[in-house]
Structure formats: structure tokens, C-alpha cells
């Protein structure tokens, strides 16, 4: 990558056959700023982000992701963020090699904003999902060496007035899901919790609680997924995407929800635990 290369405005004039149009990724390539694909690294050495989920509810979609990044069996970061606004009405969550994943998100955000500014109107939700698919596919060589990036994409389709969500595989395969989607190492457990708790008429509140519960259970079973850290006040990143756009849920709100969830769990599990301790003593 040509680091720090300054691109002058007069270099942004292209003959018609080379004009990148509203495509920011193509422009970055033409400017020689496209990052090289790392292929010789062993994937295990770089930090990996893990579990994220998206749940559709009656007024849109809730996305959530835990805050842990791991390198092998080490925790390399406690407060990494994996859920980002893609633009005003959509969000992207990532699982996989943290470095390439964050770069992918940055480029995706810029791609959408660039298109909107050049064309004067935003990309359709379908178009955004396809763009992300192409970006994941172009990352395939790195994915083959253990640095896979698997995003979730969700948004509010303003044309149809409903929330939609998309899941991807490492080849850029794009799958629209109807109810919920999950990605990352804890996705199996998180997905099961959501599957059991999901109903078509979920409210925003219920959807947020369901994602928190799913991440808590995933953290309970999967060492690469971080649970809520009450001591440092590190909570999952949770965002609701509805007609009003992408809105992140405040940490104070999440803390209260977790406290309520712990109380509820303690009430049902506490008695069980007491019986178990007595049983071993006798």
C-alpha cells in the first residue's frame, strides 16, 4: 500500500473508460491505496473477533456483538466493537480476523457514503447487501490463510417499511434470513437461544433482551466470546435499526437490563444450586 500518498483533485479526473463512477473501492484501487492482501500469515496469530447476532422485530432489526477479541487462547482485546452503522438506515456486524474486518467495515461505510454523495441518492438496501458480498469475496485469498471475515448486514428497508437481515459466508455468498442471523465462534449457542425465544411480534425491547441473553449464553459456552463485564462496565454493543435509523443502545440501559437478567436467572437457578451443595455434603 502506498501509505500516505496524497491524491490531488486533478488526479480525480478520469477519461470516460477509466472513470470509477460512484464506486469508492474502484477509486481506491486506481489511486494505488488498496491494501495488499496478507496471505502468508498464519491466521491464529492475529486477533479474532467473535460472536454477533441480528434479530428482526416488528419495527426493524436489533444487532448486537460481544466485546472480546482473542489470539489463540489469549484475550487480545476486552472492548473491541463489532457492530457499526453502515449508513443512516443500516448496520454491519463482523466476526473473524479483527484487522481485515475493521478495514472491510471502514471501506464499506465509505463506499455507501461516497455513492450517496456522487449520485445524490442512497444505495438501495439490496444494493448495499450486494456491495458487501463483493467485498467479502475479494477478501477470499486472505480468508484461505485463516483470516476469514464473516459479516452480518441488517437494515431498515425504507422502500418496503421493514427490517431485513443478511448473512454471508467467506466466499461472499449472501443469504437473506427472515427471523435472525448469527456469526462467529459463539454463533451456534447464541443462535439457538434466539431461535427458542423468537416470535414474529417481538417488540424492540424484547428483541434487545433476547440478544443480550443470547450473548450471555454464548459467553457461557464459548471461551472466545466475552460476557458482560460489570466491573469495568464493558457491555455488548447493541443497536436498533428502525425507521428513525441506526441508534446505539446506551451502556446504562444495557447495565440495567443485565442486572434484571441476572436477578431473573438467580431466582430460577439459585434454589437449584443450594440443593446441589446440600446434596454433595450429605
Amino acid at each position: 500500500m502506498a501509505a500516505g500518498k496524497v491524491h490531488a483533485v486533478n488526479q480525480s479526473h478520469f477519461p470516460p473508460e477509466d472513470d470509477p463512477g460512484p464506486d469508492f473501492a474502484a477509486l481506491v484501487r486506481q489511486a494505488g491505496l488498496w491494501p495488499d492482501t496478507p496471505t502468508s500469515l498464519s491466521g491464529a496469530e492475529v486477533p479474532h473477533g467473535t460472536t454477533c447476532v441480528a434479530v428482526r422485530h416488528s419495527d426493524g432489526v436489533v444487532m448486537a456483538g460481544d466485546r472480546r477479541a482473542t489470539s489463540g487462547n489469549f484475550i487480545s482485546h476486552r472492548s473491541i466493537e463489532k457492530v457499526f452503522p453502515a449508513d443512516q438506515h443500516s448496520g454491519v456486524a463482523i466476526a473473524g480476523a479483527a484487522g481485515p474486518a475493521l478495514e472491510l467495515v471502514r471501506l464499506f461505510q465509505l463506499q455507501l457514503e461516497h455513492y450517496e454523495k456522487v449520485e445524490g441518492s442512497p444505495v438501495s438496501l439490496e444494493g448495499k447487501a450486494n456491495q458487501l458480498s463483493q467485498m467479502v469475496r475479494s477478501h477470499l485469498p486472505a480468508a484461505m490463510s485463516g483470516m476469514a471475515v464473516v459479516p452480518l448486514f441488517a437494515g431498515f428497508d425504507t422502500a418496503r417499511g421493514l427490517g431485513r437481515l443478511f448473512q454471508y459466508d467467506i466466499t461472499g455468498g449472501r443469504y437473506e434470513e427472515h427471523d435472525y442471523a448469527s456469526a462467529g465462534s459463539g454463533s451456534l449457542h447464541a443462535g439457538t437461544v434466539i431461535k427458542l425465544g423468537w416470535s414474529p411480534d417481538l417488540s424492540v425491547d424484547e428483541a434487545i433482551d433476547l440478544t443480550l441473553r443470547s450473548l450471555l449464553e454464548a459467553a457461557d459456552e464459548d471461551s472466545a466470546t466475552g460476557g458482560p463485564d460489570m466491573l469495568r462496565r464493558i457491555f455488548p454493543v447493541v443497536a436498533n435499526i428502525g425507521e428513525a435509523g441506526f441508534e446505539r443502545v446506551a451502556d446504562d440501559d444495557l447495565e440495567q437490563r443485565f442486572v434484571a437478567l441476572f436477578e431473573q436467572l438467580a431466582a430460577t437457578r439459585g434454589a437449584e444450586r443450594d440443593n446441589f451443595v446440600e446434596g454433595t455434603n450429605s
Partner: protein, 225 residues
């Protein structure tokens, strides 16, 4: 063998300038002014689809008058420059000043080296934390770069409109007063309603992207007082 006629450089520049000025004078004018709420950009533009004012970056807007295809090309080049710079450095490194300098270079080069000068006048403007930090860069067809304070007028009738603007605009006015002043200056003795105008505001406070187009309803409301 044909020999080109000798033309004095002064004459050649004058001809080119006249050509560009005539092209610009055919179009309608545009006014931008700073207010307490942000920078108001207001153009007389009956088209709803072909825009003269647009967003370049978080706090930077662009406006052009003259030949549409030429200033639109400049607008896209500016967005590319800003987005690439923000991508390879940081969002806060993207500034109107360097963009305006770049535009001045392009227009200056085209003016002296190309077959025909660009028949455009453009404005690059950046919103500051308070009105004293607002920047208005007015760039002419030959690359002349002017850093203006308070307000800026582009287009054929710039002098007349500017005179009216000087009387109507006052420092520290609200966005609504700014729109009224700008529309009054553009209209003169005629009257303009929302359908004939394109109005946008670079907001002083708010989320990352400060550029906002004002709908016809909002403009009508503003003009009614």
C-alpha cells in the same frame, strides 16, 4: 505552409476571460452566507433534479454556477479527493482550504492550457465551531481564489446581487433570516418562491455529516417568516 496569426498574450487572455464570463452570465446567481445556525446556500434553480449545491464532506459543501456538466465534474472530483484523503489520513484532515487550492489549480491550468476555459464559478465552504471559523472560498473560471467573509455571491449578476445582500444580511442572524436575505438578494424586484430555489444548510451543530437540503415546505415556511 500556413502560419498562425500572432495574437498578443494580453489579447488571448482577454478573449478567454470574456468567453468564460459570457458563459457564466447566461446562468443564474447563487448566494451563500454565514449565520448563527450555519452556512446558508441558496441558488435560483428551477430544476429539481440537476443540483447546483451539494455535499462534499462532513463539514464541507460545494456550489457551482455556469455550465452544469463542467461544475458537476469538479464536484465529483472534489468528493473523490475528500473521501480518499479522509480514507488514507483521517476525517479531520479533510479541509476546505486544500480543496479550494486544488480547484484553483485545475481551473487555472484549464484556463491557460486548454482549448476553452471552464465556464464556471464555484464556491467551497466549510462550517466552523462558531461563525468566525466559517470559511468561504470563491474560485473563478481562471483559477483566481478569493477567501470571503460573511457572504459570497456567484454568477452573472454578482455585483447587483452582492449590493442587495450587503444591505439585507447582518452578522449573527439566524438561518431563517439568512435564507430570507439570500432570496431577497437573488430576487431583487421580482419574487421567487420555493419551487424556483435550491436551498441547503451546513449546520453548525449536529451529527458528523452537517449538510442538509431544505425541503420546499421548510423554505416556504422560512420565507413566510
Amino acid at each position: 505552409m500556413t502560419m498562425p496569426f500572432y495574437v498578443a498574450p494580453e489579447q488571448m487572455m482577454k478573449d478567454r476571460a470574456d468567453y468564460a464570463r459570457k458563459g457564466i452570465a447566461r446562468g443564474r446567481s447563487l448566494v451563500a452566507c454565514t449565520t448563527a445556525d450555519g452556512i446558508v446556500l441558496c441558488a435560483e434553480n428551477p430544476s429539481r433534479l440537476l443540483r447546483k449545491i451539494s455535499e462534499i464532506y462532513d463539514r464541507i459543501a460545494f456550489a457551482g454556477v455556469g455550465k452544469y456538466n463542467e461544475f458537476d465534474q469538479l464536484r465529483i472530483a472534489g468528493i473523490r479527493h475528500a473521501d480518499l484523503k479522509g480514507y488514507s489520513f483521517s476525517r479531520e484532515d479533510v479541509e476546505a482550504r486544500s480543496l479550494a487550492n486544488n480547484y484553483a489549480q485545475i481551473l487555472g491550468n484549464v484556463f491557460t492550457h486548454e482549448m476553452k476555459p471552464m465556464e464556471v464559478e464555484i464556491l467551497v465552504t466549510e462550517i466552523g465551531a462558531d461563525p468566525s471559523g466559517d470559511q468561504l472560498f470563491h474560485i473563478l473560471y481562471d483559477g483566481t481564489l478569493v477567501d470571503e467573509t460573511g457572504f459570497s455571491v456567484l454568477g452573472g449578476d454578482a455585483e447587483v446581487v452582492g449590493e442587495r445582500m450587503r444591505e439585507a444580511w447582518s452578522e449573527g442572524c439566524t438561518a431563517q433570516e439568512g435564507v430570507v436575505a439570500a432570496v431577497g438578494a437573488l430576487a431583487g424586484e421580482n419574487s421567487l418562491d420555493a419551487g424556483d430555489l435550491e436551498v441547503a444548510l451546513l449546520e453548525r451543530t449536529g451529527p458528523r455529516r452537517r449538510f442538509r437540503r431544505l425541503s420546499d415546505d421548510t423554505v416556504t415556511e422560512f420565507l413566510a417568516g
